[in-house]
C-alpha cells in the first residue's frame, strides 16, 4: 500500500468521482433529514428550521413510544424465532458432508435472491383462510374426526362440528412470520460460518469429559459461536424494524411498526420534520446495536481461536 503523497494525481483521479457521489447523493441527503428533524411544519410543504426539539419530544410521547416498543418487541420476537430455527439448520449444513454443503447453502440462498416484496406477498396464499396452512390443518381435523367416528365418539363433537379455519393473516402473528420468512437466511449464514470454523475437537472434548449433546451445545458450542448469533441478530433485527411493507401487506390495523409511521409522515401525513426525527431515532438504534456488537466482538477477540 502506498502513501497518498506518493502519487497525488492517481489518488485524486481514483477517489474524486465516488467521493463526490457519496457526499452529494448520500451524506447531503442524510444531513438534510437530520436538519429537517429540528424543523417545524408550516403549511403543506413549507418547513422552517427552528432548531426545535419538539419532533423528538413528540416521538417520545407514550403513543409513539408504544409503537417504538412494539416494533422492537415484534422485530425482537421474529429475531429470536430466526435464531431458534436458524441454529439447527446452520448446524446441519456445517456438519453435512463436504459435497452436500454448496447445494444446501445454495438452496438456502435462492429464495433470498427473490424480491423481498414478492416473498412477502407469496405468504398470503399460504396463510389466508383458504390457504395451505388451513388446508393442512383441515386435513388433520378430518382424519381426527374420522378416527373419533370410528371409535364411536362421532356424535359428541369433541373437536367441533366442522373445521374452523384459523385466522392467520392480517394480525401480528402474520407480521412476525413475514419478518422471519424475509430475513431467515441472514441469520443462518453467519451462524453457519461460525459453526463451520468451530474446531470439532472442542465438542469431542466436551463429550469425552462426560457431557451429553445438549450440555455440549449450551456449554461449548453456543458460547463459542455466539459471535455468529450476534451478527445474525443484528442483521435480522435492524431491517425488521424498518420493513414497513410487511405490516402493510400482512398486518392488521394494530400491527403498525415504526417503519409504517415514518412512511406515513413522508407519504400521506406530510409531516416531514416529525418523520425525519423518527427516522434518525431509528438510525441511532441501529448505530447503538452496531456499536454494541463491535464492543462485544472487541472484548472477546481472544475467543477467535
Amino acid at each position: 500500500m502506498d502513501s497518498w503523497r506518493k502519487n497525488p494525481l492517481v489518488f485524486w483521479v481514483l477517489n474524486l468521482s465516488p467521493s463526490a457521489w457519496l457526499i452529494l447523493f448520500f451524506i447531503v441527503p442524510l444531513t438534510l433529514v437530520w436538519v429537517l428533524s429540528f424543523g417545524e411544519k408550516r403549511g403543506l410543504l413549507e418547513v422552517a428550521i427552528t432548531g426545535t426539539f419538539d419532533n423528538y419530544a413528540r416521538a417520545l410521547q407514550p403513543l409513539y413510544l408504544e409503537i417504538f416498543w412494539k416494533s422492537i418487541w415484534m422485530a425482537g420476537l421474529a429475531t429470536i424465532a430466526c435464531l431458534i430455527a436458524g441454529y439447527p439448520v446452520a448446524f446441519a449444513i456445517a456438519f453435512a458432508p463436504d459435497r452436500w454443503k454448496p447445494f444446501l447453502l445454495l438452496a438456502l440462498m435462492v429464495p433470498f435472491w427473490i424480491n423481498i416484496l414478492i416473498r412477502t406477498y407469496a405468504l398470503i396464499a399460504v396463510f389466508r383462510t383458504r390457504g395451505y396452512v388451513n388446508f393442512t390443518l383441515e386435513w388433520f381435523w378430518d382424519q381426527a374426526n374420522g378416527l373419533l367416528t370410528l371409535l364411536g365418539l362421532g356424535g359428541y363433537q369433541l373437536i367441533g362440528a366442522r373445521y374452523e379455519p384459523l385466522e392467520l393473516l392480517y394480525n401480528n402473528f402474520a407480521v412476525n412470520m413475514g419478518i422471519v420468512y424475509a430475513f431467515f437466511p441472514f441469520m443462518v449464514l453467519p451462524l453457519y460460518a461460525n459453526i463451520e470454523k468451530l474446531d470439532r475437537s472442542y465438542m469431542e472434548a466436551s463429550l469425552d469429559l462426560g457431557a451429553g449433546h445438549w450440555r455440549t451445545f449450551f456449554s461449548v458450542v453456543f458460547p463459542l459461536t455466539w459471535h455468529g448469533a450476534l451478527s445474525g441478530i443484528i442483521i435480522v433485527f435492524i431491517p425488521a424494524l424498518g420493513a414497513f411493507f410487511i405490516p402493510d401487506l400482512l398486518g392488521g390495523t394494530d400491527s403498525q411498526l415504526i417503519g409504517n409511521v415514518i412512511e406515513r409522515q413522508f407519504k400521506s401525513a406530510n409531516d416531514w420534520p416529525f418523520g425525519a426525527a423518527l427516522s434518525f431515532l431509528l438510525m441511532y438504534i441501529t448505530f447503538g446495536a452496531l456499536a454494541l456488537r463491535a464492543l462485544v466482538a472487541g472484548r472477546n477477540r481472544g475467543l477467535d481461536v
Partner: protein, 370 residues
C-alpha cells in the same frame, strides 16, 4: 506386569471410509498400568484406532472391550476413558479452573469434591498458580498441562493421548516426555499414546504397536522392537538399517546359512529367538539387515571374523555425538556405519575416498522374511 488382565481388548476391529480401510482387522490387548504407544507414519490408522477407543469413530467391524465391557453401544460421554487432544481443545471461553472442573460438573459431582479434586489435579501438573487464567494467556506447554489435568481429574481407567507433544518445540518436548512418564507412574492409570515419532515411543512406552496401512505390524517392548523387528517395514521405520537381499541356502533348527547378494555366504547362529518360529525355509528370499551402530570400522588392518568387507568412504555426515560413514563396498552396495566421536580430535578420523574395512558380529544380523 505381564500377568495383569487386559484393560483394553481390541478384537478384529476394522474401520472403513468408503472403500478405504483406515484400520484393517486389528487385534490388540493393552494391559493395566501400561504406557502403550501406537506408532506409525501418518495415515497408518493409529489416530483412527485411538478415536475408536474414545468413541468418536464407530468400528465397521469387530469389538472393543474396555475393562471387560463391550463398548460398541457406549457413547464417548459414558466411556471410562478420557482423551488429551492433539490441539489440546482447551475451552477458550473458560478459565483453567473451569476447564478442569468441566468434566466433574457435567457428571454432577458434589461441588465440594469438585474444588478439591481440581486443586489436586492442577497441583499435579504444576498449574495451581494459573487456576484463574484464561487459556489465551497460557503457553503451549501450559495449555497441554490443562488438557492433561482436565482428563486426569476424571480418574479414567485409560488416558488416551493423541500426538500430545507434536505442537511443542524440541526442548519442551523432551521435558514433557519425562513428565508424562512421571505422571503415569504417579497416577497409575493406563496411558495409550499415538505418535509418529519413534524416539518418543521408544523413550516413553512400555510396549509399542507399530502400524502401517491400517494393520498392526508388530507389538513389542521398545528394546525388542529395535533389536528384533519382525519385518522390513519395522526394521526400516525404527532407527536406521542396512538392508541387503539374501537367500536361505540351508536351515537347521534356528541356525541358517544365507547367501547375501554381493557379500557372500554367511552362517548365522540361532540367536534370533523369533527366527525359530518363523516359517523361513530353504531357498527362500529374505532380507538381511544390520544396524549401522553394530557395524565397526577398521582403518589400518583387516580384522578377523566371519563378516569383513572392504569399501571406500563416499560420504561422512557429522552429527556432533556421532558421525555416519557411508562406504561403497567392492560389490557396489553402500553400507553405513556409525562412528562415536568420543574424543575432541576424532572428527577428521575418516576422509572421503579413503579405503577402509568394516565388520560386524553374526549375532547382530537380522533375517527378515517379509
Amino acid at each position: 506386569m505381564t500377568d495383569s488382565p487386559p484393560i483394553i481388548s481390541v478384537q478384529g476391529v476394522s474401520k472403513r471410509f468408503g472403500n478405504v480401510a483406515a484400520v484393517d482387522t486389528v487385534s490388540l490387548e493393552i494391559r493395566q498400568n501400561e504406557f502403550f504407544a501406537l506408532l506409525g507414519p501418518s495415515g497408518c490408522g493409529k489416530t483412527t484406532l485411538l478415536r475408536m477407543l474414545a468413541g468418536f469413530e464407530t468400528p465397521s467391524e469387530g469389538e472393543i472391550l474396555i475393562d471387560g465391557q463391550d463398548m460398541t453401544d457406549v457413547p464417548p460421554n459414558r466411556r471410562p476413558v478420557n482423551m488429551v487432544f492433539q490441539s489440546y481443545a482447551v475451552f477458550p471461553h473458560m478459565s483453567v479452573f473451569d476447564n478442569v472442573a468441566y468434566g466433574l460438573r457435567v457428571t454432577k459431582t458434589p461441588p465440594g469434591d469438585i474444588a478439591q479434586r481440581v486443586q489436586e489435579a492442577l497441583h499435579m501438573v504444576q498449574l495451581s498458580e494459573q487456576a484463574e487464567r484464561r487459556p489465551d494467556q497460557l503457553s503451549g506447554g501450559q495449555r497441554q498441562r490443562v488438557a492433561l489435568a482436565r482428563a486426569l481429574v476424571k480418574r479414567p481407567k485409560v488416558l488416551l493421548l493423541d500426538e500430545p507433544l507434536s505442537a511443542l518445540d524440541a526442548k519442551l518436548r523432551e521435558a514433557m516426555q519425562l513428565e508424562l512418564v512421571r505422571l503415569q507412574t504417579t497416577v497409575g492409570i493406563t496411558f495409550v499414546i499415538v505418535t509418529h515419532d519413534q524416539h518418543e515411543a521408544l523413550s516413553m512406552a512400555n510396549r509399542i504397536a507399530v502400524m502401517e496401512s491400517g494393520r498392526v505390524q508388530q507389538v513389542a517392548r521398545p528394546a525388542e522392537l529395535y533389536e528384533f523387528p519382525n519385518s522390513r517395514f519395522v526394521a526400516d521405520f525404527i532407527g536406521k538399517m542396512n538392508l541387503f537381499q539374501g537367500r536361505v541356502v540351508e536351515r537347521q533348527g534356528a541356525e541358517m546359512t544365507v547367501d547375501i547378494e554381493g557379500l557372500g555366504r554367511l552362517v548365522l547362529p540361532g540367536q534370533d529367538k523369533s527366527a525359530e518360529t518363523r516359517p523361513v525355509s530353504e531357498g527362500q528370499e529374505v532380507g538381511v539387515a544390520v544396524r549401522p551402530e553394530k557395524v565397526k570400522i577398521h582403518r589400518d588392518a583387516m580384522p578377523a571374523g566371519p563378516i569383513v568387507l572392504r569399501g571406500q568412504v563416499r560420504e561422512v555426515a557429522y552429527y556432533g555425538d556421532t558421525s555416519h560413514v557411508f562406504l561403497r563396498l567392492d560389490s557396489g552396495q553402500v553400507i553405513s556405519a556409525n562412528l562415536r566421536n568420543d574424543s575432541r580430535t576424532s572428527d577428521p578420523s575418516v576422509k572421503i575416498g579413503e579405503d577402509l574395512w568394516c565388520s560386524w558380529e553374526p549375532q547382530d544380523t537380522l533375517i527378515l522374511d517379509r
